[in-house]
């Protein structure tokens, strides 16, 4: 549908305003990270780089990053796979226990996370598992996989089953239909779910608290620091996460754009 120019511009401004708003607290954090004093009064009078030097020099910070990343990456991959199939069962297929399934997988989301973490720790202990970062993956999945499923389900609800049927009529096997038709159609939803999964795992504190054993994730460390040992090292690490993520996402986007162009160029070459 056609949208008048004025509406486009108004919406553009609206979007920019919301983004500026989202970044306001991060600006405050950045100020705080350059402050010499721990306790701030604005405007800040004495600036320093020492908290960044500390952050880069600290073996603890490097360790935390690795642990958090490891957990988040595994959680993301598993959530995407499980979420894809889960969403089909949730929204696409009509089968006997669907209603029950839909309710059942929502339950973990209703659970207060710290309680879930504590209960999981007791369960791990009962089964004889010593908690490490690997058990944290499992704990994160309990909570994140259902959310990923819901995100994919938005697309699974809206797609047209006729497309799958047409493919099947043309003799495609179930597996082929899934791979060639269903997966590409749901792909944007799956990517979105993966992104959610990564960020939810990366930022999770309450589930990690009881399930990482002697390993430590970044949010756990930051939380403890905030509560009982604050220094501007905390906002410095926060600001660095923003910078790091911008670089990562920038590289990722550049790679996608580059590979799309290359693919386009190659298929154009093949046609010649």
């Amino acid at each position: 549908m056609h949208h008048p120019r004025s509406i486009r511009i108004a919406l553009l401004c609206y979007g920019v305003t919301l983004i500026v708003f989202l970044y306001l607290p991060l600006a405050a954090i950045t100020f705080a990270s350059f402050s010499k004093a721990r306790y701030l009064t604005f405007p800040i009078r004495r600036y320093t780089f020492q908290w960044y030097e500390k952050a880069f020099a600290s073996p603890t910070v490097a360790d935390l990053l690795t642990t958090s990343l490891k957990i988040a990456i595994v959680v993301t991959v598993i959530s995407m796979v499980v979420g894809f199939f889960g969403a089909l069962a949730f929204a696409r297929y009509r089968w006997r226990f669907r209603g029950a399934f839909q309710k059942f997988i929502l339950l973990p989301i209703f659970f207060p996370q710290t309680v879930l973490g504590l209960a999981l720790l007791m369960w791990f202990n009962a089964v004889g598992i010593i908690p490490t970062w690997k058990t944290a993956i499992v704990a994160h999945l309990v909570w994140i996989a259902p959310i990923a499923t819901l995100i994919v389900a938005i697309r699974a609800y809206s797609f047209d089953p006729a497309l799958e049927e047409a493919a099947r009529d043309m003799g495609a096997s179930t597996w082929q239909v899934l791979r060639e038709v269903t997966l590409p159609l749901l792909w944007p939803g799956i990517v979105s779910a993966g992104l959610f999964a990564f960020l939810l795992s990366w930022g999770n504190f309450p589930l990690s608290l009881f399930t990482t054993g002697a390993d430590l994730t970044l949010p756990e460390w930051l939380y403890a620091k905030m509560v009982s040992g604050y220094s501007p090292l905390v906002p410095a690490v926060g600001t660095l996460s923003v910078v790091g993520s911008v670089i990562l996402i920038g590289l990722g986007t550049a790679f996608v754009v580059w590979s799309n162009r290359r693919r386009a160029a190659m298929s154009a070459g093949a046609e010649d």
Binding site: T41, L121, G128, K134, A214, L216, V227, S228
Partner: protein, 377 residues
Amino acid sequence: MVNRRTFLKGTAAVAGLAALAGPRRSWAGRENELNILCWEGYNTDDVLGPFRAKHPGSRVRAESGTSDPDMINKLRAGEVNVWDLINVNQPWARNQLYPEGLIKPLNRARFEPYFDLMLPEFQGPYPLALDESGKELIGMVQRFGPFSFVVNTDKISRQMAEDQGYKLFLDPKMKGRYGVLTYDNWNIMHMCMAADLNPFAPLGESDFAKFSKVAKAIFDGAKLLTDDLVGMNTALINGEIDAYFTGGTYTASPARFDGQTQVRGITPKSGPVNGKGGVVWVEVTSAVNNPDPTPLAEDFLEFVQQPEICKVVAFAEGTYNPVTQMANPKVMALFDKDELDAIQWDSLPEEMERSVDYQIVVDYNRLNELYNAAKRS
């Protein structure tokens, strides 16, 4: 329907879950591993770095808890097989962890001599580092500090705050001018004292009514409640509030070391516990009753008695606190004037004189209920 096949499938799946954790740790493999659960300080690179250097090839990890009960919950829910040392305030170690078998006694012969080098209060050894029978040594003591409340001395004079004690917060003029740092267990002790009750003695029905009234009044007049000491200090420095209920050197020292010396921990001149109104916490670091123990645990306890390390523990990244080893001139020599001022060294002896030990609050459960009800309303 659960038939045999689905049951077997389930069992196999549980086994799969167990495999996730990898092979069980071998019983002999922990000579080089040490896991410490502690209050912020022992977990910093400044403390762990030298220890790691002394034990090359060892894997030393430390995590800082955010409250005593948080750390204790971890042990209770099964992490006794994870941690080797735990560092909590005195009554939790003595009255909860030890009786429940979550921590075990230390080698008394090895550690007792260190108590002789400590401040006089802690010599002999410190009674609350021993179990109830007085026979077993259940932990080592290092950081401590008086803990009552904190004021901005530019707004409220130290003299007046010390004279009025907790009654300050019941003064109608203070309404909306203070915060409550919600360390619940401490709030409960201090609210008892504000109501002229001795929290360490059994209380009666009329006492509970008095407590309830005071708790409601204090919550009612508070501008903010938070368990975040950064937020609280920031509010104090920026003039949102002029005082906060429950606090001491532990919370005031980082602000003081920042140059904000108007922030000061106050110990009341008098109170209902044998005439005293201040409370002092002492951290006890104990060996966790890990089924697969490591010799590094006791080594670490000995390591932190060295003068240089004592100083680092006292002045770790987050908060600054006096340590019991400051009786040793070698330790004292490592502190400069600003550092001593940050931990209110000048008034520490008189504040200790006016304080009693943090002990078990006899009617804690009932008081906790009343406390939460007051907070809610």
